[in-house]
C-alpha cells in the first residue's frame, strides 16, 4: 500500500526579483508502507527539499502538484492555529506526527537541557497526558538504548549520542515514517554504524525509513534506492539494479565493494550478479580462485 504519494510536484525557491531556483521538477513517485528507501544524489539535487515536502514543512509550489501522506493532502490541512479553516479535520500537525525528520547536525536539534526533557518536548506540545508522556519517553529512550542517559545533560553527550536523543524525540511522537536527512554525516564510524542499526531495527518494527545519505554502503542496505539529479529522479530500483548502472555520471560514487568488482572484471574475473557489499565480493572472488 502506498503510504506516501508525490503527484507532479514542483518546488521552486524564490531567489530575488523574478528569479527562481527550480529545486524539484514534476516529481511523481510513491513509497510503500514499511519500506526502507535510500535517497541519494549530489548536493543541490533536491534531496533535502524533498524531505521537507514529506511532512508539510514545504508545500508544492505548482497548483497541480500534490503530496499525499497516509491519504492526507498536505496542501489541504489547516495551518497551525487555524483549525477548521479548510474543513477536512486535519492540521499540519497530523502530518508531522506521521512523518518525523532527524537532521544532520547533532548540535541543533535539541531544545532542552536534560535528555528526558528533550524527548518529552514533542509529546508535551501536542497536549498528551502526563502518564502518556512518561510512557512515550520511556519507550523512545529504550528504542535507542539511551535509558541510562535519561537524566544527563544533552550538551555533555557525544555527537552520536545526541543523534540518538534526536531519534528518540522523533520516536516519542509515534511516527509511521522517519526521514534521516544525512543524519550520519557528522558522526564517526562507530556513530554511523549505530544510527544505521537503529534505523534497520525500527524498520523491522514496521516504521517506514527514508535515508538520505552520501554514503553508498549505507544506501546499499536499503530495499530501494532513488537517485535524484537536478530535481528529477534519474534512477529508481533495488541496490543491485541501481549499482548496475553508471552511477558516477550522476556525481555519485559506487560502494567500494562494487567498484572493486568492476576493476576485477576488467582483469578477467566473472561475477554472476552485481556486487553490492563486502561479503558478496569475498564470496564471488572465492568461487573463482578455488
Amino acid at each position: 500500500m502506498s503510504y506516501i504519494v508525490f503527484n507532479g510536484v514542483n518546488y521552486s525557491y524564490q531567489l530575488g526579483e523574478g528569479e527562481k531556483l527550480r529545486a524539484l521538477k514534476n516529481l511523481s513517485f510513491s513509497i510503500e508502507k514499511g519500506s526502507f528507501v535510500a535517497l541519494v544524489g549530489m548536493n543541490g539535487s533536491g534531496k533535502s527539499t524533498l524531505s521537507k515536502l514529506l511532512n508539510g514543512l514545504f508545500l508544492p509550489t505548482n497548483k497541480s502538484g500534490q503530496v499525499i501522506v497516509d491519504g492526507i493532502n498536505t496542501k489541504e490541512v489547516d495551518e497551525v492555529g487555524k483549525k477548521g479553516e479548510k474543513d477536512n479535520g486535519f492540521t499540519v500537525f497530523d502530518v508531522r506526527k506521521k512523518v518525523g525528520i532527524v537532521f544532520q547536525n547533532p548540535d541543533n536539534q535539541t531544545v532542552a537541557t536534560l535528555v528526558e526533557d528533550d524527548v518529552a518536548f514533542g509529546p508535551e506540545n501536542i497536549g498528551l497526558s502526563r502518564e502518556e508522556i512518561v510512557e512515550r519517553v520511556n519507550s523512545a529512550l529504550e528504542g535507542v538504548t539511551m535509558t541510562e542517559y535519561r537524566d544527563r545533560a544533552v550538551s555533555k553527550l557525544s555527537g552520536g549520542q545526541k543523534q540518538h536523543v534526536a531519534i528518540a524525540g522523533v520516536l516519542a511522537m509515534k511516527p509511521e515514517v522517519i526521514v534521516f536527512d544525512e543524519s550520519t554525516a557528522m558522526l564517526d564510524p562507530i556513530g554511523r554504524r549505530e544510527i544505521m542499526s537503529i534505523a534497520r531495527e525500527l524498520n523491522k518494527q514496521g516504521i517506514t525509513i527514508i535515508m538520505i545519505t552520501h554514503n553508498m554502503d549505507e544506501a546499499a542496505l536499503a530495499d530501494r534506492i532513488i537517485v535524484l539529479q537536478r530535481g528529477e529522479i534519474v534512477l529508481d530500483g533495488t541496490p543491485k539494479e541501481v549499482f548496475a548502472e553508471n552511477v558516477p555520471r550522476f556525481g555519485l560514487a559506487l560502494p567500494p565493494a562494487t567498484e572493486t568488482a568492476y576493476k576485477l572484471k576488467e582483469k578477467g574475473f566473472i561475477f554472476d550478479e552485481v556486487i553490492i557489499n563486502e561479503d558478496e565480493l569475498v564470496e564471488g572472488i572465492c568461487k573463482q580462485l578455488r
Binding site: N43, G44, A185, G251, L264, V282, L289
Partner: protein, 292 residues
C-alpha cells in the same frame, strides 16, 4: 627540515577539578617539511588537542613544565613569534564553511590578511591568488555572497581564507565530512595541489581510514592521549594485531584481505589500495599465486 617538533607534551583539561581529563600524555613527535600526515583515533583520543598546539591555540607552560612545541625551530610560547606562527600554520577546522560570515567571497578571504595588517595591494594579491588556487575564478566569485554557493564551493572559499595567510603547514580537521562524492574528489585534488604548489606539509585529522590510508604517507594513531602507532599506511594498517589492540577500524581493502584469508586465500597484509588488491588477485587467478 623539521616543520614541527614536540617534546614531552602533556595537556590536562580542568586540572584539579572532578572533571580533570588527561588529553595528551607525554607526546614526542617530529614532522619533517614535505610530509603528508594523517592523525587518526577515536573521538576523545586527543587529536584535536594535539593539533591546537600546532598554531599556539593551546600552549604548553612557559617554563616547559608540561613539554615543548616548536614550529620551524621556534617555541610556540615565544610571545614575539605568535603572529608569524599564525601565518605559518593554517588551520582548516571541521565544517569550515560554517565560519564564513562576510557578505562577499573576497571580503571573507581578506579577513585574515587584513587582521595581519598587510597593505591593501598585498591583501588584494593574496585574495586573487587564493581564489585561483582553490579553482574559483576571481571575476566570477569575488563579489558573490558566500551563502549562495554550493557546499563544495563554500568549503573551497573557507580553505582559500586560510591559504591567503600563505601557511607553510596546513592542518585540516575532517576535510571531507559531509561532502558528496563529487565534493570529496574536488577537495582531495585541491589538497594535493596545495601540497605540491604552496604548502609542503599537510596534516589531516580524520576518522576515515580509507582516505587516511590512500592519501597520507604517514599515519599517527592516538589513543587516550598517547601515540600508539606511527608509520606508513602499510606499516600501521599491516599490523592487524596492533590495529585491533588500539581499537581502530581497518580500511576497506584490509577488511577484504582478512575476509579472503578466512576463506583460505592468503594475500599480503600490507595491501591498502583497491589497485593493489585487484592486481594481486589477478596474479593469483592467472596462476602466479602462492595461495594455500
Amino acid at each position: 627540515m623539521q616543520a614541527i617538533k614536540i617534546e614531552a607534551l602533556t595537556h590536562i583539561y580542568s586540572k584539579k577539578t572532578p572533571s580533570e581529563k588527561v588529553a595528551l600524555d607525554n607526546i614526542n613527535l617530529v614532522v619533517e617539511e614535505g610530509e603528508f600526515v594523517a592523525i587518526v583515533g577515536h573521538t576523545g583520543s586527543g587529536k584535536s588537542t594535539l593539533v591546537q598546539h600546532f598554531n599556539g591555540l593551546i600552549k604548553p607552560h612557559k617554563k616547559g613544565k608540561n613539554g615543548r612545541v616548536e614550529i620551524y625551530g621556534r617555541a610556540t610560547t615565544e610571545k614575539k613569534g605568535l603572529k608569524q606562527l599564525r601565518f605559518d600554520v593554517g588551520m582548516v577546522f571541521q565544517y569550515p564553511e560554517y565560519q564564513l560570515f562576510e557578505d562577499t567571497v573576497a571580503k571573507d578571504i581578506a579577513f585574515g590578511p587584513k587582521n595581519m595588517k598587510l597593505d591593501k595591494d598585498e591583501i588584494d594579491r593574496r585574495v586573487r591568488k587564493s581564489l585561483e588556487l582553490v579553482g574559483l575564478p576571481y571575476d566570477e566569485f569575488a563579489e558573490r555572497s558566500p551563502f549562495e554557493l554550493s557546499g563544495g564551493e563554500k568549503r573551497r572559499v573557507a580553505i582559500a581564507g586560510v591559504i591567503a595567510m600563505e601557511p607553510k603547514i596546513l592542518v585540516l580537521d575532517e576535510p571531507f565530512a559531509g561532502l558528496d562524492p563529487e565534493g570529496v574528489r574536488e577537495i582531495t585534488a585541491l589538497i594535493l595541489k596545495l601540497k605540491s604548489e604552496i604548502c609542503p606539509t599537510i596534516i589531516t585529522v580524520t576518522h576515515d581510514m580509507d582516505s587516511a590510508s590512500t592519501l597520507a604517507d604517514r599515519i599517527i594513531a592516538l589513543r587516550e592521549g598517547k601515540i600508539v602507532a606511527d608509520g606508513t599506511p602499510k606499516e600501521v594498517f599491516g599490523d592487524r594485531a596492533l590495529i585491533k589492540e588500539i581499537g581502530l577500524d581497518v580500511p576497506f581493502v584490509a577488511r577484504i584481505v582478512d575476509k579472503l584469508e578466512e576463506r583460505g586465500i592468503v594475500l599480503n597484509k600490507n595491501i591498502v589500495t583497491i589497485e593493489e588488491l585487484t592486481t594481486e588477485l589477478e596474479r593469483i587467478r592467472t596462476g602466479g599465486g602462492d595461495n594455500v
